[in-house]
């Protein structure tokens, strides 16, 4: 054997975890939020993130050069700082701010205190707070999605307005670039399942915050209210990516729990009683500065000193669901909830749309009406389900009034059986009981035949009519005759029947009531 043998003290092996590995995993877990942010907010968001990262790495390189220290840019921590800062800025932030912020984070918060592992506050968060205070106006989050919306969800929450949780959850509401809760949760749970971040911290932050908001928020533990608070203002970003920063969080489990609760509770207090929407950033900073104190006094004793005697049970392999499984399950449940949320939201919108169209139809048959209300005299009779009248069904009866409260006419919603299904139409009547117009809100008759009912040639025949109408083939000769659509007798019958039912209803109920 030749060559020199290396000497070293045991152990002579190392695990595959390295500092760059941890930083790579953090960047990876922030990618979903980054991608969603860029897709939602556009290219300026990309520019902000890119500038933040590039200037963070560049300032670290320059700082190391100036201080004659070996370059530390390859440990990846500057990239993480830049990315976190970029994600916590608004999408319309002027492009000089991420640069100033990154330089501040790297040089002042990290470099001046001795570099990686020596900073006492989270550099990205400190830079964000620095920008918030120094450039308050430029840092205000300007709407990029809803030009109409005046306030961000956080502003709205503070003003006790309703917010759209689903939008906040998916990240399509106005807010900072990295505000997609779904994407952040996916990343955060990935880090937790890889044992990179400590569950004690992120979950105690969330629990502390939820408890405080629930107890003192004034709405109790109303899930909608709690979710709105949890989804906004960087709570999830803070809990999973900011508060869990190794350097500025305690080491012992108990210390981490205390630290997490402190941040959660402070965040809640600032949110409820403070007057800024960025309460959570400040809460985490206060948690950061408490860390050395916690680490000094809260240390864990060795196992042998924790309990005296033989009280501990034999440690068997605990039945433990692997963390990735838990994380995937949580993500699946959340994604499922999100999808069903989207469904419900869009379902409401569809119904709302239908309602609006119907309302338009009813208004159109009472020209000049400013308000449309259920006619009170018919309300008891019709109830929610309406009544059968002749061959048709009366669903509802509205009374249209002008601005002075003068009755302009009535609008009836009538359903009749057509050839291709139900025909729902609005029948407008004058206060005297003459037909003004008819409009269809739901009709699916045969195109070119039954559908001709919607054309003026047919439907305008009803204008000014009253009494009982008769359907005739060919041209109408008498005043109460309606010329049928050739080849669509079923439709013609249904519509005429419906109008007759409405006129009859007017005579017996409305007129009779008078």
């Amino acid at each position: 054997m030749n060559g020199v043998l290396n000497l070293s003290s045991s152990p002579h092996t190392r695990d595959r975890w390295t500092t760059p590995y941890i930083m790579r995993m953090v960047v990876l877990s922030l990618l979903p939020a980054t991608v969603v942010g860029i897709l939602v907010h556009g290219w300026q968001a990309f520019g902000i993130i890119a500038l933040a990262i590039v200037s963070a790495v560049a300032s670290e390189w320059v700082f190391d050069k100036v201080c004659h220290k070996p370059s530390t840019i390859w440990d990846g921590s500057a990239v993480v700082t830049g990315l976190l800062l970029g994600l916590s800025l608004g999408p319309k932030t002027p492009l000089y701010l991420p640069v100033i912020g990154s330089v501040f984070a790297i040089v002042v918060c990290k470099g001046c205190f001795g570099g990686l592992g020596k900073n006492f506050i989270n550099p990205a968060l400190a830079a964000r707070c620095f920008l918030l205070i120094s450039f308050a106006n430029a840092m205000t989050i300007k709407p990029s999605i809803d030009a109409v919306a005046s306030a961000t969800p956080m502003g709205a929450l503070k003003a006790f307005e309703q917010v759209d949780i689903t939008k906040m959850f998916l990240g399509t509401a106005d807010g900072v670039i990295g505000s997609s809760i779904l994407a952040l949760l996916i990343g955060g749970l990935l880090l937790w399942s890889l044992d990179i971040i400590h569950g004690q911290i992120c979950f105690s932050v969330l629990i502390g915050f939820t408890l405080l908001i629930g107890l003192f928020g004034g709405e109790g533990f109303n899930p909608r209210f709690l979710l709105a608070h949890l989804c906004g203002g960087g709570v999830v970003m803070g809990a999973f990516f900011m508060a869990t920063d190794y350097v500025t969080s305690p080491v012992s489990r108990l210390g981490q729990f205390i630290y997490g609760c402190l941040i959660g509770v402070l965040g809640g207090i600032f949110r409820l009683w403070g007057n800024t929407a960025d309460s959570f950033s400040y809460a985490i900073i206060i948690g950061n500065v408490c860390t050395p104190l916690i680490d000094t006094y809260i240390v864990q004793k060795p196992l042998a000193y924790r309990k005296i005697g033989r009280t501990r049970r034999v440690k068997r392999e605990p039945f433990r669901i692997p963390k990735p499984v838990i994380a995937l399950t949580i993500i699946a449940v959340i994604a499922g909830l999100a999808l069903s949320g989207v469904f419900f939201v869009t379902k409401d919108t569809i119904e709302e749309q239908a309602m609006l169209e119907a309302a338009a139809a009813y208004t159109s048959v009472i020209p000049g009406a400013k308000s449309l209300k259920i006619a009170e005299e018919t309300a008891d009779l019709l109830g929610d389900d309406g009544i059968d009248q002749g061959s048709a069904h009366i669903n509802a009866c509205y009374v249209g009034k002008d601005g002075d409260g003068k009755v302009l006419g009535y609008a009836l919603s009538i359903t009749a059986k057509g050839f291709g299904g139900n025909i729902v139409m609005a029948l407008g009547l004058t206060p005297e009981g003459e037909v003004v117009d008819i409009a269809f809100t739901e009709i699916s008759e045969t195109a070119g035949l039954g559908m001709k009912a919607t054309e003026p040639a047919f439907k305008d025949q009803f204008a000014g009519k009253s009494g009982t109408l008769t359907l005739v083939k060919g041209a109408a000769s008498a005043d109460n005759e309606i010329s049928a659509i050739s080849g669509a007798s079923v439709t013609s019958n249904a519509v005429t029947g419906a109008v007759n039912a409405g006129l009859e209803f007017f005579r017996t109920v409305l007129k009779g009531g008078n």
Binding site: M1, N6, S8, S9, P11, H12, D15, A304
Partner: protein, 449 residues
């Protein structure tokens, strides 16, 4: 049901290199060197002098006091010298050097089995002491001392340590596969000393064949059970095993016997069986020679006193195309880095690992500042906070290190150092801090007198 302890790490095992290699009996050709200190305690005193003819299994040095052990020759030949020679760890130590005649003439044939029923407990301990048996797991503590606790009736568990959590090493695995009945007999002999004890054989779950063999050998034995352990370092450490079996953690100032446990390596139990039933003294033991740089990784029944270098030649030497950059007596976790292979194998040694790449050198290149990630705290089997300990030690705050952080409880297993993503040399810092504290205490003690 697999048992385990808190924390620990799972370094890459590399056991596949020699896992299936059957034991080879190797008769060394060169001179044999027997250091007088191959155990914890006082060095043995030579009972031969230069020029004496010795036989295999002949006592060449005698225990000096109770905490010491006899040394037996593993070859026949003439005593060449009693002089200082380089030994494991790099230092020079008094050794008996025997000119090997390559005949290996035994002093007795050790094939006649005694009737064990006639043996008293004192007989058993006496025979263990006479055979010069020490803990073969690596520590080398004289076994007869361990077998004589203050109160034998208070011992609840005799734990047979077959965990072999050290990466690379496979000789205990092979021993359990091939000599399971003898190990169980050794355990039964020890159990006779402790009437209230239960025998627990602990094996990590990466050795299914060994578990199977031991279960067969132990089946029908009332007082013996085999338990499977999760593969995790330092599972084979005394304290980790006791924690896994009984759930008890105890401070470093206490011994296993204080909590009712006796831990014996399976190799030691095998030696006990040979010594008590066949009067065979300890002059050979199982041994793994492995590593990426070795041509033919092998498991040996090796004679004490054989040179590491010679045994490596018996494995075909260094693999062509590879350079051995590091030689470890033992495995990478607890092993001692060797500067030269021209040193003798001692009783308590159980392996040589020859690495083609130096993980420590690579780690030094990857070293960054401490991230305070807390991984070291998670893996510490004692429940210490290595990161805060390192901070205190580097800041010179030994008061906090000792009193607040319980730094002296460190068992120096190295789990924190393996797990550290910043590749900090934590354990080295702790060794130094411990030495400083002990030095300080000694000085203060001297000052008071």
């Amino acid at each position: 049901m697999r048992n385990t302890f808190r924390g620990g790490v799972h370094p890459e095992e590399h056991k596949e290199l020699s896992r299936e290699a059957r034991f080879r009996l190797y008769d060394p050709q060169g001179e044999m060197v027997f250091p007088l200190q191959q155990h914890i305690g006082k060095p043995a005193k030579p009972v031969v002098s230069k020029g004496d003819e010795v036989l295999v299994g002949q006592k060449i040095a005698e225990a000096d006091g109770f905490v010491s052990a006899h040394i037996y020759s593993s070859c026949s030949g003439k005593v060449k010298a009693i002089e200082k020679r380089r030994v494991l760890g790099g230092g020079m130590a008094e050794c008996i050097v025997i000119d090997n005649d390559r005949q290996f003439t035994p002093a007795a044939d050790w094939s006649e089995r005694d009737n064990e029923a006639k043996l008293s407990t004192d007989d058993i301990i006496q025979r263990v002491q006479d055979a010069g048996i020490v803990g073969l797991g690596g520590a080398g503590f004289p076994t007869h001392v361990k077998l004589k606790p203050k109160d034998p009736d208070a011992i609840e568990y005799v734990i047979a340590n077959g965990a072999e959590c050290e990466p690379y090493l496979t000789c205990n695995d092979q021993l359990m596969r091939t000599h399971a009945p003898a190990i169980v007999e050794g355990l039964e002999l020890v159990l006779r000393l402790f009437p209230n004890a239960e025998g627990i054989i602990c094996i990590e779950d990466n050795k299914p064949e060994a578990i199977h063999a031991m279960e067969i050998a132990a089946s029908g034995k009332q007082r013996i059970a085999v338990r499977t352990m999760i593969t995790k370092y330092p599972q084979g450490g005394e304290r980790s095993l006791i924690q896994a079996v009984t759930g008890i953690d105890f401070p470093i100032s206490k011994l296993p016997a204080d909590v009712g446990c006796i831990v014996q390596n399976v190799g030691t139990l095998f030696a006990i069986q040979r010594a008590v039933l066949y009067h065979e003294p300890l002059f050979r033991q199982c041994f793994t020679l492995t590593g990426e740089a070795v041509l033919e990784p092998s498991n040996f029944i090796v004679r004490v006193g054989t040179s590491y270098a010679e045994l490596l030649e018996a494995c075909g030497g260094v693999k062509p195309g590879k350079t051995a950059v590091k030689a470890l007596a033992g495995g990478p976790m607890m092993g001692i880095a060797m500067g030269s292979l021209d040193v003798p194998i001692q009783k308590q040694n159980n392996g040589l690992t020859l690495l083609a790449e130096d993980p420590v050198l690579m780690a030094e290149k990857q070293m960054t500042a401490c991230l305070h990630c807390g991984r070291c705290t998670t893996v510490c089997p004692v429940g210490l906070m290595p990161q805060l300990m390192a901070d205190a030690a580097i800041a010179g705050n030994l008061e906090r290190y000792e009193k607040k952080l319980y730094g002296l409880e460190c068992i120096q297993c190295g789990s924190c150092t393996v797990a550290c993503p910043a590749k900090r040399p934590l354990m080295q810092t702790f060794k130094q801090a411990k030495a400083e504290i002990q030095e300080k205490k000694k000085r203060e003690g001297a000052g008071q007198k």
